[in-house]
Symmetry: none
Subunit: 203 residues, 4 copies
DNA sequence: CATGAATGAGCCTTCATTCAT
DNA sequence: AATGAATGAAGGCTCATTCAT
């Protein structure tokens, strides 16, 4: 991890902001320089990064490391004794995490298809990990015994519906469903709880 | 003339394919011409479309009209007498619709943020409409009486979890959750049914 | 001289009009086709002309032949007995001739520099000829005997001041001098007369 | 770097030269770059000018400012006591000014019709101003009292004939009249003097 | 470090011209 | 004779990147 000079940080800030707003290809080095307070078009960025791709990597990595710092899985082991309360906390936590990484999500949606390792692993971190942890937690907390398949399917459904509410808003450009977070969470908790107590029979 | 398909159609085909693969900005007119069997760089496209934007519009519109043709909502009014069976058919239908519009979804994820009227309305059509219809249907089919808020929240959750499974795969570049469609649908039907029979209390 | 079909004529009309308005380079074959009522971009023009250059030539030639038909030099040999009256008629005639060839003048101003024979000879016809005839006439009509040099210089001055009033208006885009034609002609006649009666001593 | 002149200046030089030779539309950015010693087609010009139009503006403005620097109207107030001598100096001065702005004249003839504010004001400066000053001067120097109309008409005639001798040569591609500058000036002075001493009666 | 300047590559678009129908 | 379609060439402009100062 290279030094973290003030200029370097300003460049990453500018890049992440503009990449999220306009996409990677839609953002010129010149624009990033301007946003970072460097002379536009002078290529000052290249004293800090090898290439535009390198800058993208630095940006994504910084967002991911922030995510790591933020990620506080204590809720997963906190036993409130009340499953409903725990689920509510969990839902809020997941949504806020997605919100705080909205910029990263936007970048990934625009560029993940280009098949770059870096971006794929970012998706893993931001989505799959949460999902896996959720599945594990479900298996351990459910009153009834869940098979792996059941836990996986329930977790996929649960993560998916939360993720969706943010992806449609963040990536597609506006909330697609007129449902408040409060209602969404209440319904999510209610539905997830029922699935945990009365899981489906899977072939 | 490598194909007998009218040139215009071949151009739209090529454009939709490449836009989905590489994004709008990432696709050059030259590349589209090559893919369509025209001389690359000769601008032959401009005998059929006014501009690159115009071509994007044509592509999105064609996908949308295909969607209209495809959209067969008969399942929404078919009374099989068995709610579980109806939900299963509905889930399969929604997933297959999303699958057949994967390319459009990919394009929208890349470009919808640019704030173009056209793309926004495409999102409406592909996502919001289905959601609205689902909410309406739920209110009419549920055994217990649902408030608007309840129906909306349940529909948002239900649509969201299906949409998510396709968005993560299609947009982000690979399935994020190791769950088969079969299990996903079974769990979705089970969970949705329970929500309809025992809806959450919403403040 | 090729046949004069209606279509061919319409094309030449359109070309001359547009060349004068937008210049040769600024006028596309497509625009000429549209103006002439042909399908734009279909290249229909090439059934009548070998190339865009050829069309320019045809246009200039047609204007020149019109000029020939128009050119009525009778005023040059009409002896009204009154030099002042003859000069007045001559001035009016020259100005009206320039006016009726405004389009040609505009084309020449834009394109004559390209060194094309055709255009150079057009300039000859429209300007030098008049000048030469004027010089000849002066030598024959002056009360005092004029040397060639004197006649040439006086004719150059006289033609020049008339030409100027049209060139500034027609070519440069608006009248540069706030002087009415009436005043201009009166002064021109007055001045020319004095020069003829009392020519300068030339070294 | 073939020359030590600042690049920007070399670009303007190249542009003015080529615009005069081939017209604005007829001159490609690539050609200007080549002429200025930049890599053709690399767009190096755009580090110095926003657009081709902007470059035209810079060129015209530079020529105009040169004109301002050059324009030395002292001859207009110098009282040599001898009107004939003053007129001779004036004629020489105007012709040399037009000669030194031949390139600008050529550009204006090609492009002034496009209605650009900048070019119109350039025409004003190079033509109308001289004319106005000439008219004013005439009113003040004439032995007899001149009405405004008389002064205007005489000035228009006088400026016109000088302008013409340069416009035909410079714009149309060659001298149209076989008259030496010496003879032209002598005749012009002679004629103008007679008009000032014996102005026409204007209705 | 930062900047001014330059450059190779590429992009979207226009256009004169050709040709089969 | 006219059209729909195609094409080679070029044009204006952007951009990631490099380098001397």
């Amino acid at each position: 991890m290279p030094e973290s000079t003030p200029t370097r940080d300003r460049i990453v800030d500018a890049a992440v902001k503009l990449f999220a707003e306009r996409g990677f290809r839609g953002t010129s080095i010149t624009a990033i320089e301007a946003e970072a307070g460097l002379t536009p078009g002078a290529g000052g960025i290249y004293h800090h990064f090898k290439s535009k791709q390198d800058l993208l990597r630095a940006g994504v990595e910084r967002q991911l490391s922030r995510l790591d710092a933020l990620r506080d899985m204590r809720w997963l082991i906190t036993d409130l004794g009340d499953l409903r309360a725990e689920l509510t906390i969990g839902a809020r936590y997941i949504l806020s995490e997605l919100d705080s990484e909205a910029e990263l999500l936007r970048i990934l949606a625009s560029e993940a298809r280009t098949g770059q390792e870096l971006l794929i692993s970012a998706v893993e971190k931001i989505v799959s990990n949460s999902y896996t942890e959720l599945a594990t937690w479900m298996r351990s907390r459910s009153d009834v015994t869940l098979t792996d398949a059941q836990a996986n399917a329930i977790a996929a459904l649960a993560m998916g519906s939360l993720l969706s509410s943010r992806v449609t808003a963040t990536v597609l450009g506006g909330p697609a469903f007129p449902v408040s977070d409060e209602h969404l969470i209440a319904t999510w908790v209610h539905g997830t709880l029922q699935l945990l107590q009365n899981p489906p029979t899977l072939p």
